[in-house]
């Protein structure tokens, strides 16, 4: 493992020659050794991926950290959570991704392909858009959250409801659909404020932040 948690808002990652870390621009706090930071607009996907991500609105300014040393990362006083991906796929919003290893393939996924029309509605309602970023492969990534991160397991028959604003990421075989609980009270502005919930069912894990604040 090359990622270490220093405190709730700071991590340290090792960069070795021949390896690349993709990180959010401006997230570097300090480093030892010889590390260089190069802005990249193609990310880990090449030019085609770049255009795809631009179109999908999942384009977040990234930079590459290369060289030989240890780099400390933190961003805007947000909490940082480390996630190890072991051959499965992590679905996450691009702007929540702070650092990830180049052993992970970054992709862009159309929400409609997971959950059909409801997935698209979900993207609209949560303000996450119609696309989401995926990370596949083996490696570590560091995820930003406002407040601490809670990992909630989902099992068949035990689906979970999540506030769309508190949702960060999910992994595994999960179906997500938006549950609209809109009544006449919401229409006249006397709703509970919890009209929309994200329902996730299947087998996997959901990551939720302890805040309703979007990044």
């Amino acid at each position: 493992m090359t990622f270490d948690q220093l405190n709730s808002k700071m991590i340290e990652a090792t960069v070795r020659p021949g390896q690349t870390l993709y990180c959010l621009r401006g997230a570097m706090l300090a480093y030892r050794g010889e590390v260089s930071f190069t802005p990249t607009s193609t990310g880990a996907q090449g030019v085609g991926g770049m255009i795809g991500r631009r179109l999908a609105g999942e384009s977040v300014p990234l930079m590459k950290a290369e060289g030989d040393g240890r780099v400390m990362f933190g961003y805007a006083g947000r909490h940082v959570h480390l996630i190890e991906i072991t051959g499965d796929t992590l679905h996450i919003e691009a702007d929540r991704l702070m650092v990830f290893e180049d052993s992970l393939q970054q992709g862009t996924m159309f929400m409609g392909s997971q959950g059909g029309v409801r997935g698209m509605i979900r993207g609209q309602v949560t303000g996450q858009g119609l696309f989401t970023t995926t990370l596949t492969g083996r490696g570590w990534c560091a995820v930003l959250a406002h407040g601490g991160v809670i990992e909630l397991p989902v099992q068949p028959g035990r689906s979970i409801h999540v506030d769309p604003q508190a949702y960060i990421a999910h992994r595994g075989q999960l179906d997500n659909r938006i549950g609209a609980n809109v009544g006449w009270r919401d229409v006249i502005g006397r709703g509970s404020g919890e009209a929309f919930q994200l329902e996730l069912s299947g087998t996997g894990t959901v990551y939720v932040q302890a805040s309703e604040e979007k990044l």
Binding site: L29, A30, S36, F37, T38, P61, M63, G74
Partner: protein, 253 residues
């Protein structure tokens, strides 16, 4: 006293922590005498405490002895008396540190209070002040403080301060601006900058203090700082001439 989960702890003048953190975001000074406090950082106090602006005559003795920075004198007051003084800064993490015949340089906006046993002087790095001597001081940071040892390069915004090691130098890394692609990048502006071209480079032995975020506490609180203003009065920037302080600088104008 109630513990976690049973509501907020209720403190009074006797049960308040003495010279210690009340919670991660506020600090209680057991005042008996004088402390220097940054303006606006007092949130409450018990006892008889007077707050006086610096440089108003009665405190000139203290100022000449301990507060050696005309640049920051407007931002500081002296708390005098006996009681419990609570300090906080907009929900940022607050910590206290002890110096023993030591020196520590810290970002001026992050320093909340210090004992008169310490001397405050302006650092030659703009926006920073140096504390010299023995005593306690209280500082705020955006996220927890992390201590590291040189050699290390730190983002200027994430740097909180340093102790015992030589003053840092600038490190610029624009390697990606070289070559044909770099030239295209420079000319067209395409590709942008990583925002990490500039660091403070620390070498030698000592301790470097970092905060967990690259958003510094309040850039507005740092008085308009340019190299020019950080010079002693009289020195001006003359194109083509090195900056010379004081009389020599004036002669060259």
């Amino acid at each position: 006293m109630s513990g976690l989960g049973s509501g907020a702890t209720v403190y009074d003048a006797r049960s308040l922590p003495q010279d210690d953190n009340v919670n991660p975001y506020s600090f209680c000074v057991a005042l008996d005498g004088e402390w220097f406090v940054q303006k606006g950082k007092m949130i409450a106090y018990y006892g008889r405490i007077k707050f006086e602006a610096l440089g108003v005559g009665a405190l000139d003795r203290l100022v000449t002895a301990n507060f050696n920075s005309p640049l920051y004198i407007q931002d500081w007051i002296v708390a005098q008396g006996k009681g419990q003084l609570l300090l906080a800064d907009r929900g940022f993490d607050v910590n206290s540190y002890d110096l023993e015949v030591g020196n520590l340089t810290i970002r001026a906006a992050n320093l909340l209070a210090f004992q008169p046993g310490l001397d405050l002087k302006q650092s030659i790095v703009p926006g920073f002040v140096t504390l010299i001597g023995t005593g306690k001081f209280v500082a705020a940071s955006n996220g927890a403080v992390h201590f590291v040892e040189p050699p290390i390069r730190v983002d200027p915004e994430a740097l909180l301060g340093w102790a015992d090691c030589p003053t840092p130098c600038h490190h610029f890394d624009t390697k990606y601006m070289r070559g044909a692609l770099g030239m295209a990048r420079r000319l067209t502006g395409l590709g942008g900058a990583s925002g990490e071209e500039h660091q403070y480079d620390f070498v030698g032995t000592g301790t470097v203090l970092m905060q967990s975020s690259e958003i510094s506490i309040d850039p507005n609180l740092i008085p308009a700082q340019t190299a020019q203003q950080n010079q002693p009065p009289g020195a001006q920037n003359i194109p083509g001439l090195p900056n010379l302080p004081g009389r020599l600088g004036r002669l060259l104008q």
